[in-house]
Amino acid sequence: MTSRAAIAGSILAFALASAPVSAQFRFDLNRIIDTAKTLTQASAEVSESQEVDIGRQYAAVLLGAAPLVRDPELQRYVNTLGRWVALHAERPALAWHFGVLDSDNVNAFATPGGFVLITKGLLARTRSEAELANVLAHEIAHVVKKHHLNAIRKGAGMQAGVNILGDYVAQGSRNPEIARRLVSGMKEVMLRGLDQDDELEADRMGVVIAARSGYDPYGLPAVLQTLSAMNPQDSGLALLFATHPAPGARLDALDAAMDARLERHAGSARGSAEFERVTRRK
């Protein structure tokens, strides 16, 4: 079968090289280009309700990997803090949801449509509400810029000529095959990570969103310094380090971007007393 395909390919290549381009062939080629255009446009036009639907499914997969910490007060606290920070980015009216995952791994995730999850392991390594607010702001930036949809579209979404987002937009997720492919595309993004430039953009936006919300924007570099001081071989960091630029490189990029621009906001709040109480530091 493979050799038959190869022979067919050779014949086609020979035909293309030698024969004058026939009207029939030109027609087929145009049709292929049109189909590709339609698919690209379809995936570019994910509506907000479709985005939220995709994000809910994405969040459900993450919650299938690790449940929420059974602490309603903590969950309500991160929702209130996160909602406040999200009010200072471009999509304040989105139905934002935040949660703390019961995992000792050090990581945070966003999904399309406004779902943000931070692990208990990363929360334990933040030393102030400002640091936590900066981490949430970084994730909020991913949502605002739809970085995950871009990643599904660019990477996993184009497996074997299948356009996951395009098919989803065209047919919805009631088709089990489309739903299955969507979940596998989401997992692919969780495992491979986003575009590295998108991570650096979320860092640059995150510090500004945190500062707009009244927090010290140096909370994010502080968290990155904490991460880079940790043992890079720590298995709890493996996924974070596999899916993000190294903390040192992120600090270099923030160093260049922040310069002294945000220095006057460095005196902003490091946080409410609630952080200490709810995260049980005291």
Partner: protein, 170 residues
């Protein structure tokens, strides 16, 4: 002999505890007496100078070094070893084990993983999603919280992307 091994382990652990607050300068930077750019200069920290981080305030770190003590701009410092923290990971692992074993409050990572394998095998958990959604905060909740915490809203533009032509020319 057992005692000697114990002391050796203890020495490793103590050294690493200090090393967690260690860093180095990525460029030559001014050492200030106070955490402000117009504070009196206390000296100069040369590029690659090793420092011990004592405290943080805003964009400044209080450090101790062979060149003296004082405050330096936070982003002039990177944590970890100058060589990229390659060699001492085994010791740090030892330290992690020792710490989590001796104290209930220390965090041991990697115990309950949210690792690649876990994600690959994850089945969507819609009950947990419903739980997450029930904790949502309204805009009014958020505003009440912020006013209680004394958070002052600022108007700030996003930072431009730096030139991709390499590290900051400063």
């Amino acid at each position: 002999m057992k005692l000697r091994l114990f002391l050796l382990l203890f020495a490793f652990a103590a050294g690493i505890a200090l090393a967690q607050d260690a860093g180095y300068a990525v460029r030559q930077t001014e050492l200030k007496q106070e955490p402000y750019s117009d504070a009196a200069t206390a000296g100069t920290l040369p590029e690659r100078a090793q420092v011990k981080i004592v405290a943080r305030q805003g964009g400044w770190l209080k450090i101790e070094s062979a060149s003296g003590a004082g405050w330096v701009r936070m982003l002039a410092i990177r944590t970890g070893a100058t060589d990229g923290a390659g060699g001492d990971s085994g010791l740090k692992q030892l330290f992690n084990v020792a710490r989590s074993g001796s104290s209930g409050t220390a965090v041991a990572t990697g115990v309950r993983g949210l690792d690649k394998e876990r994600i690959r095998n994850a089945q969507p958990n819609t009950a947990e999603l419903a739980r997450m959604e029930q904790f949502a905060a309204s805009q009014a909740d958020a505003e009440r919280f912020a006013s209680g915490a004394g958070l002052a809203v600022q108007t700030i533009d996003y930072l431009p992307a730096p030139d991709s032509a390499g590290p900051a020319a400063r």
